[in-house]
Assembly symmetry: C2
DNA sequence: CGCCGAGTTGAACTGAATCAAGAAACGTGG
DNA sequence: CCACGTTTCTTGATTCAGTTCAACTCGGCG
């Protein structure tokens, strides 16, 4: 029921209208480790995470995984190249925990924006916020050491830090798992 | 007159309507080296580059410059944290060449979206495209060597490559200018 | 002509990657 | 609830890409 709550809080729609909208979406559960989207797919839906945790990632030529995004509760994940440009996904989306998502047809948010100014504004904010977030991450990768990036990560996502294996955080930060292990050791040594 | 052309191509508005819109914007010229936005400012406008070249960048604690974006002709640049969240800019925007821009009030694009569905769709596409672009850059910084990132840069922006000093490309890529110099040397050695 | 900023080159250094081996933690089935 | 196998994390030794600092070259511009 979280998506309902989310819409109630962020739009002016009546409860009836929201119920009608939700009937157009579908709830679905994915077991830990299962794939929601594979590279090359053209998914028809975006996802709103009700419960659980997803990761969006690519696999490079050497077979290494690079995590672009963790999506915990109340996050949207979508494959924008498919949604807007009808291109095959360059990403995988996988459930890190047992996860319940709402499947949202791509048209859905767009049509909402047309009908309702407040939603257009809200949706715009989401997008801009997302861009800000990506920009910060780029600047950080340009300028900060692996240690600083890790510290930043814990501050931004204290919750995710202990929900995912350490090696995934390393992948998100763009460093080797062994390096992260050493960084953590140094940090705990400093405290004592 | 490029902004006019840009609107003609990307919306269904009549020439009259476009002329009316443009009268709400202002054209302005900035000399090479001058600042359009400073860190801490809350700019009232976004920019559409008619002619010339801008860079958007931050300066870190050690005084080092990190370039987030080059904006040549037909690009938009905006400080999203000010536009949407009324926060002071964390970026500078500076003219790398003598540059002519259209100043666009923040409300402008938003109101266009309300009035005209095709523009909403177009604007959405711009935003999503931008996000895709930032995502690719992040993945690339996670996985690719300095050399590979440079090669990618030349392919993506052959034009910009020879319009800006080499040290700025290094800053964009997140590497030291000396390193870029060496990379270029290696690449030209390989060719022979 | 001489200066000045941009680029190059060299040598030493360092943060992080890699490879390899072992320790801990985890969960799954008996 | 224990035992086993798997996955995750740690640790060490080595290598390497990229940084730093400093000196030098080059091309343009006043």
């Amino acid at each position: 029921m979280q998506f309902q709550q989310f819409l109630t809080q962020n739009t002016q729609f009546s409860d009836d209208e929201i119920t009608k909208m939700l009937s157009l979406c579908m709830e679905k559960e994915f077991k830990k480790g299962s794939l929601l989207v594979r590279e090359g797919d053209k998914p028809l839906f975006s996802f709103f995470v009700e419960k659980g945790l997803l990761k969006q990632y690519t696999i490079d030529a050497k077979g290494k995984e690079h995590i672009l995004l963790f999506a915990p509760e109340n996050w949207f994940v979508s494959i924008r190249e498919s949604e807007f440009f009808n291109l095959p996904s360059s990403y995988f989306i996988e459930a890190i925990e047992d996860t319940v998502v709402y499947l949202i047809k791509h048209q859905f948010l767009f049509e909402l924006s047309l009908k309702e100014e407040s939603f257009l504004r809200f949706n715009d904010r989401l997008l801009h916020n997302h861009i800000l977030h990506l920009q910060k991450r780029i600047t950080f990768m340009q300028s900060a050491s692996a240690e600083d990036r890790y510290i930043e990560f814990i501050n931004l996502y204290p919750d995710i830090t202990y929900r995912v294996p350490q090696s995934m955080i390393a992948s998100y930060l763009g460093i080797a798992p062994e390096s992260l292990s050493r960084i953590r050791k140094e940090l705990s040594d400093k405290k004592e």
